[in-house]
Amino acid sequence: MGRITLDKVSKSFGDVEVIPPLDLTIEDGEFTVFVGPSGCGKSTLLRLIAGLEDITSGQIRIDGADATNVPPAKRGLAMVFQSYALYPHMTVRKNIAFPMKMAGIDQAEQDRRIDAAAKALNLTDYLDRRPGQLSGGQRQRVAIGRAIVREPAAFLFDEPLSNLDAALRVGMRLEISELHERLKTTMIYVTHDQVEAMTMADKIVVLQAGVIEQVGSPLDLYERPCNKFVAGFIGSPKMNFIEGEEAAELGATTIGIRPEHISISTTEGQWKGTVGVAEHLGSDTFLYIHSDVSPSETMTVRVDGEFSARHGDTVYLTPRAERIHKFGADGLRIE
């Protein structure tokens, strides 16, 4: 079980309010991702849930019981840190065994769980090594192993993949997702990378300056971002924003259109522009286009890999009308 409820939880460091009072419920078994730009308070929020920081006001409940003043060890949560925080003087086996040793679990059971975790995480051959002798990915797996064996009510991850190289990151992302499928335990996962958020989450919590901007499933956020911030943050490449006349025509201050929802032609279309840079990724091509409708920023358009365009070419863009997002002067979505 692992249903976590935050009730008007706030956090200040001295006079600085990092997290204004917020409410949030994380359902049992859910994979929740906190996403937001660096410094927005994701780690702080996670540490409040973990009990590593005191909350300034409000209440945290775990499975209905008030956990506000419960020390971290007693909350039944396991955490995987960005730096992995492995114990450098212990072997992998000892690292994984440590939480069980602290809990006083008997040796036979410890061994059973270590072996199971090692097998699941491909660590069997490394159990007698020290963390210093492992690669980044292996260290990451040890940190996860140490979390699993406690059989926690929920897992907390703080940017666990940010120290890995790009290729490894994709692999570990899948492994963590699979772990969740298998264990069905609540997981809270912090990242600043919206791709991780989109691919892993059941539920995404978008944060900015300690405030929850929107909560929803990845597709919810993609299709119906509730404000300009979420619209710009979710989706890659970023949504194009257009202001002025074009927006006013649709009764909005700003309209947004995602790069993949614009069709392009060399002969005719709604907006005229010239190609600035073309990035050929093989499967896709991203075109950065200078256009009068968006004088301040280039517009990004995603086209097929086969589409050929060069710097200076004139192109015509047509947004798909049903995919246009409208935002008011306050930045909020207009239906």
């Binding site: 009990g51 590593l52 920081e53 005191d54 020390p71």
Partner: protein
């Protein structure tokens, strides 16, 4: 890291060290203050009653007081100057590529391990003795009259002995600091056309700032209270009486605890003045 719980544990865990040091500071200090206002001669009648500020006045006006403050400052200042300057020179030398660097380090660090009583005795007898000392032999070799080091040049001699003991400390810290200097910085400066002495003045020396601070801080702490080196060599004669030593004589040799205690209070004040300046410098230079 900082929850209410961890903060209160922190206070609890700090308590033994803080309480012990506070006791170590306050209890004897209070007693010293108490004695300083008394005429107290343990071997000649014991406690002879309150005398107000008499001891303070007597200590301050005694002909030995100001010279002893001066001696203290000269020794501390002299040793600091010698060890820092020679230390920088040695650190730069030892940082050059050479054969057997590890062995040279072992030779250089050795005096630091020698107890002050031993080094004072060895220097006094086997080097500075005007008849049999090695330095006397050396002087005679060049046809000069041997110097009576500890009487004719007593203060420089003591400064020399103490510098010999502390030079290793300064050298090793400065060497570690120089080794931590990013060689790319020096190479960049060289590319920019900075000459060796400019590179030293603008890159190496500023980089050594923190290390020099530590050397000065730690050495001052120990130098203010040097005792054995004077006790063994001159016994405070020939103008080598530091404030500490003067007090030591009042308390132990003339058994005048009241007077000695008043001196002790002066010494504590002097130490606090020095500490105040040091702590300000160090506090700025070290993000302790």
């Amino acid at each position: 890291m900082a929850t209410q719980h961890s903060r209160s544990s922190a206070r609890l865990m700090m308590a033994p060290a803080v309480v012990l040091l506070l006791g170590w500071m306050l209890v004897p200090l209070t007693m010293t203050l108490y004695f300083s206002f008394k005429k107290y001669l343990p071997l000649r009648g014991g406690d002879l009653g309150w005398v107000g500020f008499d001891n303070y006045a007597r200590f301050l006006t005694s002909s030995a007081f100001w010279p002893s403050v001066q001696t203290t400052l000269v020794i501390v200042g002299g040793v600091l100057a010698i060890t820092v300057v020679l230390g920088i020179f040695l650190a730069i030398l030892l940082n050059q590529p050479m054969w057997g660097q590890g062995m040279v380090r072992i030779l250089v660090i050795a005096p630091f391990f020698v107890m002050p009583t031993v080094s004072a005795l060895v220097w006094k007898n086997m080097f500075m003795d005007p008849n049999y000392g090695l330095l006397a032999h050396l002087w005679k070799l060049f046809g000069a009259t041997p110097v009576e080091w500890l009487s004719q040049a007593s203060l420089p001699s003591i400064i020399m002995i103490v510098s010999w003991q502390w030079l290793p400390f300064a050298t090793l810290i400065l060497l570690t600091a120089i080794q931590s200097l990013d060689s790319e910085q020096l190479e960049a400066a060289e590319m920019d056309g900075a000459l060796a002495h400019k590179r030293f003045a603008y890159i190496t020396l500023p980089h050594l700032g923190r290390a020099i601070t530590v050397v000065i801080l730690i050495q001052t702490i120990f130098l203010l209270s040097i005792f054995a080196e004077i006790f063994v060599t001159t016994g405070g004669a020939f103008g080598t009486k530091t404030l500490s030593y003067l007090i030591f004589q009042r308390v132990l040799e003339s058994q005048n605890v009241g007077l000695g205690s008043a001196g002790g209070v002066y010494a504590i004040i002097l130490a606090n003045i020095v500490a105040y300046f040091l702590v300000r410098i160090v506090g700025k230079n070290l993000d302790a």
